[in-house]
């Protein structure tokens, strides 16, 4: 059985790379989702934007970079810094901000392989059809919901 059988729920929203990052953030906050995939004009996968990436961009580079500070308790709550950095992100488009380096699941990917890839990933993974078009994002929850249903639980 491949992941084709799993209904992607909720239906995937998709943004164009030219969309503003703030639009993506508002969308994620409203719909209570953590990831928004991007599609180019032809409907092909063009990256993914996540709440984690936005949050990460607010952290100073001195802590974000490998070998950087692992503890920032001493730097105060720095709310002013965090909000001003969020303002700095306003001029970015989602295309400039998106991560493209994510493993893609093809529609015929077996369930077991999809389960393994999801366990090793921190985020839902994009499912792509044979035509290269994005079908949706497969989350851990969607996979587990399907398995639970099959198991009669």
């Amino acid at each position: 059985m491949s992941i084709k059988a799993i209904p992607i729920c909720p239906p995937t929203v998709c943004l164009r790379p030219e969309a503003k990052l703030m639009e993506a953030l508002k969308l994620m906050l409203e719909k209570q989702i953590n990831h928004v995939p991007l599609c180019d004009g032809s409907g092909s996968f063009a990256g993914v934007v996540s709440t984690n990436a936005v949050l990460r961009a607010l952290i100073p580079a001195s802590a974000r970079a490998e070998g950087g500070l692992s503890d920032l308790r001493f730097a105060g709550d720095a709310e002013r810094m965090l909000t001003s950095r969020l303002h700095d992100l306003e001029r970015l488009t989602v295309g400039e901000f998106a991560t493209k380096d994510v493993p893609l699941l093809d529609e015929d990917c077996p369930l077991l392989e999809a389960a393994l890839l999801l366990t090793n990933s921190t985020a839902p993974l994009p499912v792509v059809g044979a035509d290269g078009k994005l079908r949706g994002m497969l989350s851990r929850r969607a996979l587990l919901a399907y398995l639970a249903q099959q198991a009669g639980l």
Binding site: P60, A61, S62, L69, F74
Partner: protein, 446 residues
């Protein structure tokens, strides 16, 4: 096996050991300079070739490895790897920044002082590895360009490192090869390091310091930093500081108690590990100890091992004695001229290539000059080698490992340091520090 080692070595195809060893030496150093292949691999391959070609027996190669240097470096690396987890470096940096009310120029001076002091007592690489991130955090908060600060950090670490036996790998190697102790380095080199440090601040002020500005509200943000919260493990902090104090005391008393620095550093490392694990169960102990050892910079250690063997090869073949004779002819046996040549050549060479292989080669060269100048005088040559190698490291981004570490971190944090602009500023400043060193050597020893 000892029988084989005792017989004269037979070099491959009956070639001259001098030529074979020189070819391996030049090839090894040439590849190290290109930085295309990891230097530890190159050095170990060169070492292997010295043995396979018959220049050295394995037993002679082992005898060429200076275990005192290796032991001191490894011991200090374990101690620092454990200590850094306490957050003490961030604590000191934040206290220093707040002491000058986050004033941009004051901050540059304070962070330089902190870096120089830590570099004198610990190794440079670790020091900058720990100070660079917190420097970037503070300059970020003050909306200042981090480059001038990182530049100052590099200079401070190399100048501070030149001040003591344990501050910089060249000094560790020289100390180990000559028996010069912690106090010898401190009394002979630290006064100069202090002068060079202060003099270096002048151009830094003129170029950057006087133009730096931070808005009051940004400075207020840094003033809101809470240094106490940087200490993540107070118990570890007490243990580490106690052990470091003991180890430094041990270095100072090394001559009196008749012990070598490697023993003291390794004993300190074991003591700190014991303090960490004594109340833990077996499994936790293994984890803790494994982590402590894993953070030793093994690439550096194996680089040393390989280099020592390569240098032992050319030394045994007589190449270094020849080099020493050439140098003596060049200076006409004049002691002052030899001192200055060693200083300036070491500085230039160390600016352009790693100073560790250079010093490893120069140690036997200077040793073989000792008969001409007398044992009392020869120390001056060691000081000029140490000063040239340590301060010369400031001349370019590749001059010292600490420079590369700062550049690497800056790049990862999106603030890359460019090779040429750095060198245009750093090389003349380095030459200035060597000129000051020349005056110092002249006044004090010649």
């Amino acid at each position: 096996m000892h029988g084989a080692a005792a017989t004269a070595t037979q070099v491959l195809f009956g070639l001259s050991p001098l030529l074979v060893s020189l070819a391996i030496f030049v090839l090894t150093y040439a590849i190290i300079v290109t930085e295309r292949i990891n230097r530890a691999i190159v050095a170990l391959l060169g070492a292997g070739l010295m043995i396979f070609s018959g220049v050295l027996h394995q037993s002679e190669a082992f005898a060429g490895i200076d275990l005192n240097t290796i032991g001191l470096l490894t011991g200090m690396m374990v101690i620092v790897a454990i200590t850094q987890k306490s957050g003490v470096f961030q604590y000191v940096a934040v206290v220093a920044a707040k002491a000058v009310k986050a004033d941009p120029w004051g901050l540059m001076v304070m962070l330089s002082v902190v870096t120089a002091l830590f570099s004198a007592l610990l190794d440079n690489v670790t020091t900058v590895l720990l100070v660079a991130p917190v420097t970037l955090l503070i300059t970020d908060a003050l909306k200042l360009k981090p480059y001038p600060y990182l530049f100052a950090l590099i200079f401070a670490s190399n100048i501070g490192g030149s001040a003591t036996l344990i501050g910089d790998p060249p000094n560790i190697m020289i100390g180990s090869a000559t028996g010069l102790g912690f106090n010898d380095f401190l009394f002979n080199l630290a006064p100069l390091a202090l002068v060079v440090f202060i003099l270096t601040l002048i151009p830094l002020y003129l170029i950057w310091g006087r133009k730096l500005y931070a808005a009051p509200e940004d400075r207020a943000q840094v003033m809101a930093f809470d240094a106490d919260k940087a200490i993540t493990d107070p118990r570890l902090l007490k243990q580490s500081l106690a052990v470091i104090a003991l180890v430094i005391l041990g270095f100072m008393l090394a001559h009196v108690i008749g012990q070598e620095p490697a023993t003291i550093a390794m004993f300190g490392a074991a003591l700190l590990l014991l303090l960490r694990v004594w109340d833990q169960n077996g499994e936790d102990q293994s984890h803790q100890v494994q982590r402590g050892f894993a953070e030793v910079e093994w690439v550096t250690i194996f680089f040393f091992v390989g280099l020592f063997v390569v240098v032992a090869g050319v030394e045994k073949a007589g190449a270094l004695k020849m080099l020493a004779q050439q140098l003596m002819e060049l200076t006409g046996g004049d002691f002052a001229a030899t001192t200055f040549i060693i200083l300036w050549v070491s500085a230039t060479a160390s600016a352009l290539v790693d100073n560790i292989p250079f010093v490893a080669t120069m140690i036997p060269v200077i040793h073989s000059m000792a008969p001409s100048f007398g044992a009392g005088n020869i120390n001056t040559l060691w000081w000029s080698l140490a000063l040239g190698a340590c301060l010369g490291g400031n001349g370019s981004l590749v001059g010292a490992s600490a420079n590369l570490v700062v550049a690497g971190f800056a790049e990862r944090a999106g603030q890359p340091i460019r090779f040429l602009p750095f060198m245009l500023m750093a090389f003349p400043l380095m030459l200035g520090s060597i000129a000051v060193s020349s005056v110092y050597l002249w006044l004090r020893y010649l």
